[in-house]
Symmetry: C2
Subunit: 236 residues, 2 copies
Amino acid sequence: MVYHEGMTRTVDPSTKQMLSERVHTRLREAILRGEYAPGEALKPQQLAQQHQVSLAVVREALVLLVGEGIAVRLPNRGFAVPDFSDRRWQQIAEARRTIEPVMLRLAIERGDLDWEARVRAAHHRLARTRPYAPEEGEYYTSAWSEAHRLFHRTLLEGCGNPVLLDTFDRLWTAGELARRWSAQRTPDRDGVAEHRRLEEAALARDADTATEVLVQHLTLTVAALTSAPDQVGRRS
Amino acid sequence: MVYHEGMTRTVDPSTKQMLSERVHTRLREAILRGEYAPGEALKPQQLAQQHQVSLAVVREALVLLVGEGIAVRLPNRGFAVPDFSDRRWQQIAEARRTIEPVMLRLAIERGDLDWEARVRAAHHRLARTRPYAPEEGEYYTSAWSEAHRLFHRTLLEGCGNPVLLDTFDRLWTAGELARRWSAQRTPDRDGVAEHRRLEEAALARDADTATEVLVQHLTLTVAALTSAPDQVGRRS
DNA sequence: CTAACACGAATAATCGATTATTTTGCGGAT
DNA sequence: ATCCGCAAAATAATCGATTATTCGTGTTAG
Protein backbone atom coordinates (compact mmCIF):
# COMPACT_ATOMS: atom_id res chain seq x y z
CA MET A 1 0.00 0.00 0.00
CA VAL A 2 1.34 3.35 -1.02
CA TYR A 3 1.41 6.20 1.47
CA HIS A 4 1.20 9.38 -0.47
CA GLU A 5 3.79 11.96 0.37
CA GLY A 6 1.67 15.02 -0.32
CA MET A 7 -0.26 14.65 2.85
CA THR A 8 -2.40 17.61 3.79
CA ARG A 9 -0.98 17.67 7.26
CA THR A 10 1.42 20.48 6.69
CA VAL A 11 -0.41 23.35 5.07
CA ASP A 12 1.04 26.53 3.78
CA PRO A 13 -0.01 29.16 6.31
CA SER A 14 0.01 31.91 3.72
CA THR A 15 -2.58 30.29 1.50
CA LYS A 16 -4.39 28.99 4.55
CA GLN A 17 -7.18 31.52 4.59
CA MET A 18 -10.68 31.56 3.27
CA LEU A 19 -11.01 33.19 -0.09
CA SER A 20 -13.91 35.32 1.05
CA GLU A 21 -11.88 36.61 3.98
CA ARG A 22 -9.06 37.66 1.75
CA VAL A 23 -11.36 39.40 -0.70
CA HIS A 24 -13.18 41.03 2.18
CA THR A 25 -9.98 42.41 3.63
CA ARG A 26 -8.72 43.67 0.32
CA LEU A 27 -12.01 45.33 -0.51
CA ARG A 28 -12.21 46.88 2.90
CA GLU A 29 -8.79 48.38 2.57
CA ALA A 30 -9.48 49.60 -0.94
CA ILE A 31 -12.66 51.36 0.12
CA LEU A 32 -11.04 52.84 3.23
CA ARG A 33 -8.12 53.91 1.09
CA GLY A 34 -10.58 55.91 -0.97
CA GLU A 35 -10.19 53.97 -4.20
CA TYR A 36 -13.90 54.18 -4.82
CA ALA A 37 -16.01 57.27 -5.17
CA PRO A 38 -18.85 57.75 -2.69
CA GLY A 39 -21.95 56.06 -4.00
CA GLU A 40 -20.01 54.10 -6.56
CA ALA A 41 -21.44 50.69 -7.39
CA LEU A 42 -19.56 47.60 -6.32
CA LYS A 43 -20.27 45.19 -9.14
CA PRO A 44 -19.83 41.54 -8.20
CA GLN A 45 -18.91 40.44 -11.71
CA GLN A 46 -16.23 43.04 -12.15
CA LEU A 47 -14.81 42.33 -8.70
CA ALA A 48 -14.91 38.58 -9.26
CA GLN A 49 -12.90 38.91 -12.42
CA GLN A 50 -10.57 41.41 -10.81
CA HIS A 51 -9.83 39.17 -7.84
CA GLN A 52 -10.01 35.91 -9.76
CA VAL A 53 -12.72 34.35 -7.64
CA SER A 54 -16.32 33.34 -8.12
CA LEU A 55 -19.41 35.44 -7.62
CA ALA A 56 -20.36 33.72 -4.39
CA VAL A 57 -17.07 34.68 -2.77
CA VAL A 58 -17.36 38.32 -3.76
CA ARG A 59 -20.95 38.38 -2.67
CA GLU A 60 -20.02 36.99 0.72
CA ALA A 61 -17.34 39.61 1.14
CA LEU A 62 -19.77 42.34 0.17
CA VAL A 63 -22.40 41.18 2.62
CA LEU A 64 -19.74 41.23 5.31
CA LEU A 65 -18.86 44.79 4.38
CA VAL A 66 -22.51 45.78 4.59
CA GLY A 67 -22.58 44.40 8.11
CA GLU A 68 -19.61 46.57 8.95
CA GLY A 69 -21.23 49.65 7.48
CA ILE A 70 -18.53 50.00 4.85
CA ALA A 71 -20.92 49.20 2.03
CA VAL A 72 -24.63 49.52 1.45
CA ARG A 73 -27.04 47.24 -0.32
CA LEU A 74 -30.06 48.20 -2.37
CA PRO A 75 -32.43 45.28 -2.97
CA ASN A 76 -32.15 44.01 -6.53
CA ARG A 77 -29.87 46.90 -7.23
CA GLY A 78 -26.60 45.59 -5.96
CA PHE A 79 -23.98 46.91 -3.61
CA ALA A 80 -22.38 50.32 -3.43
CA VAL A 81 -20.00 52.41 -1.40
CA PRO A 82 -22.04 54.59 0.96
CA ASP A 83 -22.03 58.27 0.17
CA PHE A 84 -21.69 59.74 3.60
CA SER A 85 -22.77 63.33 3.77
CA ASP A 86 -21.19 65.95 5.96
CA ARG A 87 -24.21 65.53 8.16
CA ARG A 88 -23.39 61.89 8.64
CA TRP A 89 -19.82 62.73 9.49
CA GLN A 90 -21.02 65.15 12.15
CA GLN A 91 -23.29 62.50 13.58
CA ILE A 92 -20.43 60.04 13.82
CA ALA A 93 -18.24 62.64 15.48
CA GLU A 94 -20.98 63.45 17.94
CA ALA A 95 -21.39 59.76 18.73
CA ARG A 96 -17.70 59.58 19.49
CA ARG A 97 -17.90 62.67 21.67
CA THR A 98 -20.76 61.04 23.49
CA ILE A 99 -19.29 57.62 24.05
CA GLU A 100 -15.53 57.91 24.24
CA PRO A 101 -15.24 60.28 27.20
CA VAL A 102 -17.20 57.88 29.39
CA MET A 103 -15.08 55.02 28.18
CA LEU A 104 -11.97 57.02 28.93
CA ARG A 105 -13.12 57.57 32.48
CA LEU A 106 -13.53 53.84 32.90
CA ALA A 107 -10.12 53.23 31.40
CA ILE A 108 -8.43 55.74 33.68
CA GLU A 109 -10.16 54.22 36.64
CA ARG A 110 -9.29 50.65 35.79
CA GLY A 111 -6.17 50.63 33.63
CA ASP A 112 -3.28 48.68 35.10
CA LEU A 113 0.47 48.99 34.69
CA ASP A 114 0.46 47.05 31.44
CA TRP A 115 -2.10 49.48 30.07
CA GLU A 116 0.06 52.43 31.07
CA ALA A 117 3.02 50.91 29.28
CA ARG A 118 1.02 50.26 26.15
CA VAL A 119 -0.33 53.81 26.16
CA ARG A 120 3.20 55.18 26.35
CA ALA A 121 4.30 52.89 23.54
CA ALA A 122 1.37 53.83 21.32
CA HIS A 123 1.92 57.52 21.91
CA HIS A 124 5.60 57.23 21.19
CA ARG A 125 4.89 55.47 17.93
CA LEU A 126 2.32 58.10 16.99
CA ALA A 127 4.59 61.00 17.85
CA ARG A 128 7.45 59.57 15.82
CA THR A 129 5.40 58.86 12.72
CA ARG A 130 5.15 61.53 10.08
CA PRO A 131 1.51 62.41 9.33
CA TYR A 132 2.00 63.38 5.73
CA ALA A 133 4.10 61.87 3.04
CA PRO A 134 5.58 64.87 1.22
CA GLU A 135 5.69 63.04 -2.06
CA GLU A 136 2.16 61.66 -1.87
CA GLY A 137 0.78 64.84 -0.36
CA GLU A 138 -2.85 63.88 -0.65
CA TYR A 139 -3.66 62.66 2.77
CA TYR A 140 -2.35 61.14 5.96
CA THR A 141 0.05 58.29 5.52
CA SER A 142 -1.43 54.91 6.26
CA ALA A 143 1.24 54.39 8.90
CA TRP A 144 0.16 57.53 10.73
CA SER A 145 -3.53 56.70 10.42
CA GLU A 146 -2.90 53.31 11.94
CA ALA A 147 -0.75 54.75 14.72
CA HIS A 148 -3.42 57.36 15.38
CA ARG A 149 -6.11 54.74 15.63
CA LEU A 150 -4.00 52.55 17.87
CA PHE A 151 -3.22 55.40 20.23
CA HIS A 152 -6.86 56.24 20.73
CA ARG A 153 -7.83 52.60 21.00
CA THR A 154 -5.07 51.73 23.45
CA LEU A 155 -6.10 54.64 25.62
CA LEU A 156 -9.62 53.24 25.81
CA GLU A 157 -8.53 49.62 26.16
CA GLY A 158 -7.98 50.27 29.84
CA CYS A 159 -11.72 49.97 30.34
CA GLY A 160 -11.35 46.26 29.74
CA ASN A 161 -14.73 45.89 28.11
CA PRO A 162 -14.56 44.27 24.66
CA VAL A 163 -18.13 45.26 23.87
CA LEU A 164 -17.32 48.92 24.33
CA LEU A 165 -14.10 48.56 22.39
CA ASP A 166 -16.01 46.96 19.56
CA THR A 167 -18.28 49.96 19.52
CA PHE A 168 -15.23 52.20 19.31
CA ASP A 169 -13.87 50.21 16.37
CA ARG A 170 -17.10 50.62 14.47
CA LEU A 171 -17.29 54.33 15.05
CA TRP A 172 -13.67 54.80 14.10
CA THR A 173 -14.09 52.93 10.83
CA ALA A 174 -17.25 54.82 9.97
CA GLY A 175 -15.48 58.04 10.80
CA GLU A 176 -12.50 57.28 8.61
CA LEU A 177 -14.84 56.55 5.73
CA ALA A 178 -16.91 59.69 6.20
CA ARG A 179 -13.94 61.95 6.85
CA ARG A 180 -12.36 61.10 3.53
CA TRP A 181 -15.21 62.64 1.61
CA SER A 182 -16.15 65.51 3.84
CA ALA A 183 -16.01 68.95 2.35
CA GLN A 184 -12.85 70.16 4.00
CA ARG A 185 -9.41 68.76 4.26
CA THR A 186 -7.94 68.53 7.70
CA PRO A 187 -6.46 71.82 8.78
CA ASP A 188 -3.07 72.23 10.33
CA ARG A 189 -4.08 71.85 13.88
CA ASP A 190 -1.72 71.02 16.67
CA GLY A 191 -2.86 67.43 17.05
CA VAL A 192 0.54 66.52 18.42
CA ALA A 193 0.11 68.65 21.52
CA GLU A 194 -3.43 67.40 22.03
CA HIS A 195 -2.31 63.80 21.94
CA ARG A 196 0.47 64.47 24.38
CA ARG A 197 -1.86 66.23 26.80
CA LEU A 198 -4.26 63.34 26.46
CA GLU A 199 -1.56 60.81 27.26
CA GLU A 200 -0.29 62.76 30.24
CA ALA A 201 -3.67 63.35 31.77
CA ALA A 202 -4.62 59.70 31.35
CA LEU A 203 -1.46 58.37 32.92
CA ALA A 204 -1.78 60.90 35.72
CA ARG A 205 -5.25 59.43 36.31
CA ASP A 206 -6.73 62.86 35.88
CA ALA A 207 -10.04 61.86 34.40
CA ASP A 208 -11.54 65.33 34.29
CA THR A 209 -8.68 66.82 32.32
CA ALA A 210 -8.35 63.78 30.06
CA THR A 211 -12.00 63.73 29.06
CA GLU A 212 -11.98 67.46 28.55
CA VAL A 213 -9.00 67.21 26.23
CA LEU A 214 -10.58 64.30 24.40
CA VAL A 215 -13.86 66.14 23.85
CA GLN A 216 -11.98 69.14 22.61
CA HIS A 217 -9.89 66.96 20.34
CA LEU A 218 -12.99 65.42 18.80
CA THR A 219 -14.87 68.69 18.62
CA LEU A 220 -12.05 70.59 16.96
CA THR A 221 -11.62 67.90 14.35
CA VAL A 222 -15.19 67.88 13.21
CA ALA A 223 -15.67 71.61 13.60
CA ALA A 224 -12.67 72.35 11.46
CA LEU A 225 -13.76 69.84 8.88
CA THR A 226 -17.33 70.85 8.38
CA SER A 227 -18.99 73.70 10.15
CA ALA A 228 -16.23 76.27 10.33
CA PRO A 229 -14.60 76.80 6.94
CA ASP A 230 -13.85 80.36 8.05
CA GLN A 231 -11.13 79.07 10.30
CA VAL A 232 -9.44 77.36 7.43
CA GLY A 233 -10.05 79.59 4.50
CA ARG A 234 -9.73 82.83 6.48
CA ARG A 235 -12.31 84.67 4.44
CA SER A 236 -12.10 88.49 4.23
CA MET B 1 -45.48 38.44 -31.65
CA VAL B 2 -46.78 37.24 -28.34
CA TYR B 3 -46.81 39.53 -25.38
CA HIS B 4 -46.63 37.41 -22.30
CA GLU B 5 -49.36 38.01 -19.79
CA GLY B 6 -47.24 37.50 -16.68
CA MET B 7 -45.56 40.83 -16.96
CA THR B 8 -43.42 41.76 -14.05
CA ARG B 9 -44.74 45.29 -13.91
CA THR B 10 -47.10 44.73 -11.07
CA VAL B 11 -45.28 42.87 -8.38
CA ASP B 12 -46.77 41.32 -5.33
CA PRO B 13 -45.33 43.29 -2.41
CA SER B 14 -45.48 40.28 -0.13
CA THR B 15 -43.30 38.07 -2.29
CA LYS B 16 -41.25 41.07 -3.29
CA GLN B 17 -38.32 40.46 -1.02
CA MET B 18 -34.96 38.91 -1.46
CA LEU B 19 -34.77 35.32 -0.42
CA SER B 20 -31.69 35.89 1.65
CA GLU B 21 -33.40 38.69 3.54
CA ARG B 22 -36.33 36.51 4.39
CA VAL B 23 -34.13 33.66 5.56
CA HIS B 24 -32.00 36.11 7.49
CA THR B 25 -35.02 37.52 9.30
CA ARG B 26 -36.43 34.12 10.11
CA LEU B 27 -33.11 32.82 11.36
CA ARG B 28 -32.58 35.92 13.42
CA GLU B 29 -35.93 35.57 15.09
CA ALA B 30 -35.43 31.88 15.67
CA ILE B 31 -32.08 32.44 17.37
CA LEU B 32 -33.39 35.34 19.43
CA ARG B 33 -36.38 33.25 20.34
CA GLY B 34 -33.98 30.74 21.79
CA GLU B 35 -34.70 27.89 19.42
CA TYR B 36 -31.03 27.03 19.26
CA ALA B 37 -28.77 26.07 22.11
CA PRO B 38 -25.74 28.26 22.79
CA GLY B 39 -22.85 27.04 20.71
CA GLU B 40 -25.09 24.96 18.50
CA ALA B 41 -23.91 24.63 14.91
CA LEU B 42 -25.90 26.30 12.18
CA LYS B 43 -25.54 23.87 9.31
CA PRO B 44 -26.11 25.41 5.89
CA GLN B 45 -27.34 22.19 4.32
CA GLN B 46 -29.88 21.50 6.99
CA LEU B 47 -31.10 25.09 6.94
CA ALA B 48 -31.25 25.16 3.16
CA GLN B 49 -33.47 22.12 3.11
CA GLN B 50 -35.53 23.43 6.00
CA HIS B 51 -36.18 26.77 4.31
CA GLN B 52 -36.33 25.41 0.78
CA VAL B 53 -33.55 27.56 -0.60
CA SER B 54 -30.05 27.02 -1.90
CA LEU B 55 -26.82 26.99 0.03
CA ALA B 56 -25.75 30.39 -1.21
CA VAL B 57 -28.85 32.02 0.21
CA VAL B 58 -28.43 30.44 3.60
CA ARG B 59 -24.77 31.29 3.59
CA GLU B 60 -25.52 34.90 2.82
CA ALA B 61 -28.02 35.07 5.65
CA LEU B 62 -25.51 33.51 8.02
CA VAL B 63 -22.79 35.97 7.07
CA LEU B 64 -25.23 38.76 7.74
CA LEU B 65 -25.97 37.31 11.16
CA VAL B 66 -22.26 37.16 11.91
CA GLY B 67 -22.03 40.84 11.11
CA GLU B 68 -24.80 41.50 13.58
CA GLY B 69 -23.11 39.44 16.26
CA ILE B 70 -25.96 36.95 16.38
CA ALA B 71 -23.82 34.16 14.98
CA VAL B 72 -20.15 33.32 14.94
CA ARG B 73 -18.01 31.80 12.25
CA LEU B 74 -15.08 29.46 12.62
CA PRO B 75 -12.97 29.16 9.48
CA ASN B 76 -13.57 25.88 7.73
CA ARG B 77 -15.72 24.87 10.63
CA GLY B 78 -18.95 26.56 9.77
CA PHE B 79 -21.33 28.80 11.63
CA ALA B 80 -22.71 28.53 15.12
CA VAL B 81 -24.82 30.33 17.66
CA PRO B 82 -22.49 32.18 20.03
CA ASP B 83 -22.33 30.81 23.52
CA PHE B 84 -22.36 33.96 25.55
CA SER B 85 -21.10 33.50 29.03
CA ASP B 86 -22.37 35.33 32.06
CA ARG B 87 -19.23 37.39 31.78
CA ARG B 88 -20.23 38.49 28.31
CA TRP B 89 -23.67 39.39 29.53
CA GLN B 90 -22.16 41.55 32.25
CA GLN B 91 -19.95 43.27 29.72
CA ILE B 92 -22.92 44.06 27.54
CA ALA B 93 -24.84 45.39 30.50
CA GLU B 94 -21.89 47.53 31.50
CA ALA B 95 -21.64 48.88 27.98
CA ARG B 96 -25.28 49.87 28.16
CA ARG B 97 -24.76 51.51 31.54
CA THR B 98 -21.87 53.40 30.04
CA ILE B 99 -23.50 54.60 26.87
CA GLU B 100 -27.21 54.94 27.44
CA PRO B 101 -27.17 57.49 30.26
CA VAL B 102 -25.21 59.93 28.13
CA MET B 103 -27.57 59.32 25.25
CA LEU B 104 -30.51 59.91 27.54
CA ARG B 105 -29.09 63.27 28.59
CA LEU B 106 -28.86 64.25 24.95
CA ALA B 107 -32.41 63.06 24.33
CA ILE B 108 -33.78 65.00 27.28
CA GLU B 109 -31.95 68.06 26.14
CA ARG B 110 -33.08 67.87 22.54
CA GLY B 111 -36.33 65.93 22.39
CA ASP B 112 -39.23 67.86 20.88
CA LEU B 113 -42.97 67.62 21.38
CA ASP B 114 -43.28 64.74 18.95
CA TRP B 115 -40.68 62.84 20.96
CA GLU B 116 -42.62 63.47 24.17
CA ALA B 117 -45.76 62.13 22.57
CA ARG B 118 -44.02 59.03 21.31
CA VAL B 119 -42.47 58.39 24.72
CA ARG B 120 -45.89 58.54 26.32
CA ALA B 121 -47.31 56.22 23.69
CA ALA B 122 -44.47 53.72 24.08
CA HIS B 123 -44.78 53.72 27.85
CA HIS B 124 -48.50 53.27 27.67
CA ARG B 125 -48.11 50.31 25.37
CA LEU B 126 -45.48 48.80 27.64
CA ALA B 127 -47.51 49.31 30.78
CA ARG B 128 -50.58 47.70 29.26
CA THR B 129 -48.79 44.65 27.91
CA ARG B 130 -48.58 41.58 30.09
CA PRO B 131 -44.96 40.53 30.61
CA TYR B 132 -45.61 36.83 31.05
CA ALA B 133 -47.98 34.55 29.27
CA PRO B 134 -49.42 32.36 32.01
CA GLU B 135 -49.84 29.40 29.72
CA GLU B 136 -46.39 29.58 28.18
CA GLY B 137 -44.74 30.54 31.43
CA GLU B 138 -41.20 30.18 30.18
CA TYR B 139 -40.23 33.71 29.47
CA TYR B 140 -41.42 37.18 28.57
CA THR B 141 -43.99 37.35 25.85
CA SER B 142 -42.64 38.54 22.54
CA ALA B 143 -45.16 41.38 22.63
CA TRP B 144 -43.79 42.59 25.95
CA SER B 145 -40.18 42.23 24.82
CA GLU B 146 -40.89 44.33 21.78
CA ALA B 147 -42.76 46.94 23.79
CA HIS B 148 -39.91 47.01 26.27
CA ARG B 149 -37.35 47.54 23.54
CA LEU B 150 -39.43 50.23 21.90
CA PHE B 151 -39.89 52.12 25.15
CA HIS B 152 -36.18 52.28 25.80
CA ARG B 153 -35.43 53.09 22.19
CA THR B 154 -38.06 55.79 21.91
CA LEU B 155 -36.71 57.38 25.06
CA LEU B 156 -33.28 57.60 23.48
CA GLU B 157 -34.53 58.61 20.04
CA GLY B 158 -34.79 62.15 21.32
CA CYS B 159 -31.05 62.47 20.86
CA GLY B 160 -31.68 62.54 17.12
CA ASN B 161 -28.44 60.78 16.27
CA PRO B 162 -28.94 57.66 14.13
CA VAL B 163 -25.37 56.51 14.75
CA LEU B 164 -25.94 56.42 18.49
CA LEU B 165 -29.30 54.74 18.02
CA ASP B 166 -27.68 52.12 15.86
CA THR B 167 -25.25 51.46 18.66
CA PHE B 168 -28.17 51.06 21.04
CA ASP B 169 -29.84 48.57 18.69
CA ARG B 170 -26.71 46.45 18.58
CA LEU B 171 -26.28 46.39 22.32
CA TRP B 172 -29.93 45.58 22.86
CA THR B 173 -29.84 42.65 20.48
CA ALA B 174 -26.64 41.30 21.99
CA GLY B 175 -28.15 41.71 25.42
CA GLU B 176 -31.31 39.84 24.51
CA LEU B 177 -29.22 36.98 23.19
CA ALA B 178 -26.96 36.82 26.21
CA ARG B 179 -29.73 37.26 28.74
CA ARG B 180 -31.56 34.23 27.48
CA TRP B 181 -28.77 31.94 28.53
CA SER B 182 -27.55 33.63 31.66
CA ALA B 183 -27.59 31.64 34.84
CA GLN B 184 -30.54 33.25 36.54
CA ARG B 185 -34.03 33.89 35.45
CA THR B 186 -35.32 37.39 35.80
CA PRO B 187 -36.51 38.02 39.32
CA ASP B 188 -39.77 39.66 40.21
CA ARG B 189 -38.55 43.16 40.31
CA ASP B 190 -40.78 46.17 40.05
CA GLY B 191 -39.81 47.06 36.53
CA VAL B 192 -43.15 48.74 36.06
CA ALA B 193 -42.40 51.43 38.61
CA GLU B 194 -38.90 51.92 37.23
CA HIS B 195 -40.23 52.49 33.75
CA ARG B 196 -42.80 54.95 34.98
CA ARG B 197 -40.22 56.90 36.95
CA LEU B 198 -38.01 56.90 33.88
CA GLU B 199 -40.78 58.27 31.71
CA GLU B 200 -41.74 60.94 34.19
CA ALA B 201 -38.23 62.17 34.78
CA ALA B 202 -37.50 62.29 31.07
CA LEU B 203 -40.64 64.23 30.21
CA ALA B 204 -39.99 66.57 33.13
CA ARG B 205 -36.58 67.19 31.55
CA ASP B 206 -34.94 66.10 34.76
CA ALA B 207 -31.79 64.61 33.30
CA ASP B 208 -30.12 63.84 36.62
CA THR B 209 -33.01 61.83 37.96
CA ALA B 210 -33.65 60.13 34.64
CA THR B 211 -30.09 58.95 34.17
CA GLU B 212 -29.94 57.83 37.78
CA VAL B 213 -33.07 55.75 37.35
CA LEU B 214 -31.79 54.34 34.09
CA VAL B 215 -28.45 53.31 35.58
CA GLN B 216 -30.23 51.71 38.47
CA HIS B 217 -32.60 49.95 36.09
CA LEU B 218 -29.70 48.51 34.13
CA THR B 219 -27.66 47.69 37.20
CA LEU B 220 -30.46 45.91 38.97
CA THR B 221 -31.22 43.80 35.96
CA VAL B 222 -27.74 42.48 35.52
CA ALA B 223 -27.02 42.25 39.21
CA ALA B 224 -30.12 40.20 39.82
CA LEU B 225 -29.32 37.99 36.89
CA THR B 226 -25.74 37.16 37.56
CA SER B 227 -23.70 38.45 40.42
CA ALA B 228 -26.16 38.64 43.27
CA PRO B 229 -28.12 35.42 43.66
CA ASP B 230 -28.25 36.26 47.36
CA GLN B 231 -30.76 38.96 46.67
CA VAL B 232 -32.99 36.50 44.94
CA GLY B 233 -32.50 33.36 46.92
CA ARG B 234 -32.36 35.16 50.29
CA ARG B 235 -29.86 32.75 51.79
CA SER B 236 -29.86 32.38 55.57
C1' DC C 1 -3.41 -1.83 25.89
C1' DT C 2 -2.35 2.62 23.99
C1' DA C 3 -1.76 5.68 20.46
C1' DA C 4 -1.15 7.05 15.96
C1' DC C 5 -2.62 6.44 11.34
C1' DA C 6 -5.46 5.69 7.21
C1' DC C 7 -9.80 5.56 5.35
C1' DG C 8 -14.57 6.94 4.66
C1' DA C 9 -18.45 9.89 5.67
C1' DA C 10 -20.03 14.49 6.61
C1' DT C 11 -19.76 19.17 5.99
C1' DA C 12 -17.66 23.62 4.44
C1' DA C 13 -16.12 26.40 0.67
C1' DT C 14 -16.09 27.34 -3.96
C1' DC C 15 -17.43 27.35 -8.67
C1' DG C 16 -20.03 27.67 -13.24
C1' DA C 17 -24.37 28.21 -15.04
C1' DT C 18 -29.44 29.52 -14.78
C1' DT C 19 -33.17 32.51 -13.63
C1' DA C 20 -35.07 36.99 -12.41
C1' DT C 21 -34.81 41.89 -12.22
C1' DT C 22 -33.28 46.34 -13.57
C1' DT C 23 -31.32 49.43 -16.86
C1' DT C 24 -30.65 50.92 -21.62
C1' DG C 25 -31.69 51.95 -26.25
C1' DC C 26 -34.84 52.35 -29.89
C1' DG C 27 -39.23 53.35 -32.33
C1' DG C 28 -43.56 55.45 -32.59
C1' DA C 29 -47.25 58.38 -31.10
C1' DT C 30 -48.72 62.84 -29.33
C1' DA D 1 -39.29 67.72 -30.02
C1' DT D 2 -40.73 65.03 -26.11
C1' DC D 3 -42.64 61.42 -23.84
C1' DC D 4 -44.23 56.63 -23.43
C1' DG D 5 -43.75 51.75 -24.06
C1' DC D 6 -41.53 47.78 -25.53
C1' DA D 7 -37.48 44.85 -26.51
C1' DA D 8 -32.40 43.82 -25.79
C1' DA D 9 -28.56 44.00 -22.90
C1' DA D 10 -26.61 44.26 -18.41
C1' DT D 11 -26.56 42.96 -13.90
C1' DA D 12 -28.42 40.85 -9.55
C1' DA D 13 -30.04 36.79 -7.32
C1' DT D 14 -30.32 32.07 -7.11
C1' DC D 15 -29.33 27.33 -7.93
C1' DG D 16 -27.06 22.61 -8.47
C1' DA D 17 -22.84 20.49 -8.54
C1' DT D 18 -17.68 20.21 -7.56
C1' DT D 19 -13.71 20.56 -4.70
C1' DA D 20 -11.46 20.94 -0.21
C1' DT D 21 -11.39 20.33 4.67
C1' DT D 22 -12.69 18.36 8.94
C1' DC D 23 -14.63 14.70 11.82
C1' DG D 24 -15.56 10.00 13.09
C1' DT D 25 -14.22 5.14 12.99
C1' DG D 26 -11.75 1.14 12.66
C1' DT D 27 -7.18 -0.80 12.27
C1' DT D 28 -2.51 -1.72 13.25
C1' DA D 29 2.17 -0.88 15.01
C1' DG D 30 4.57 -0.34 19.26
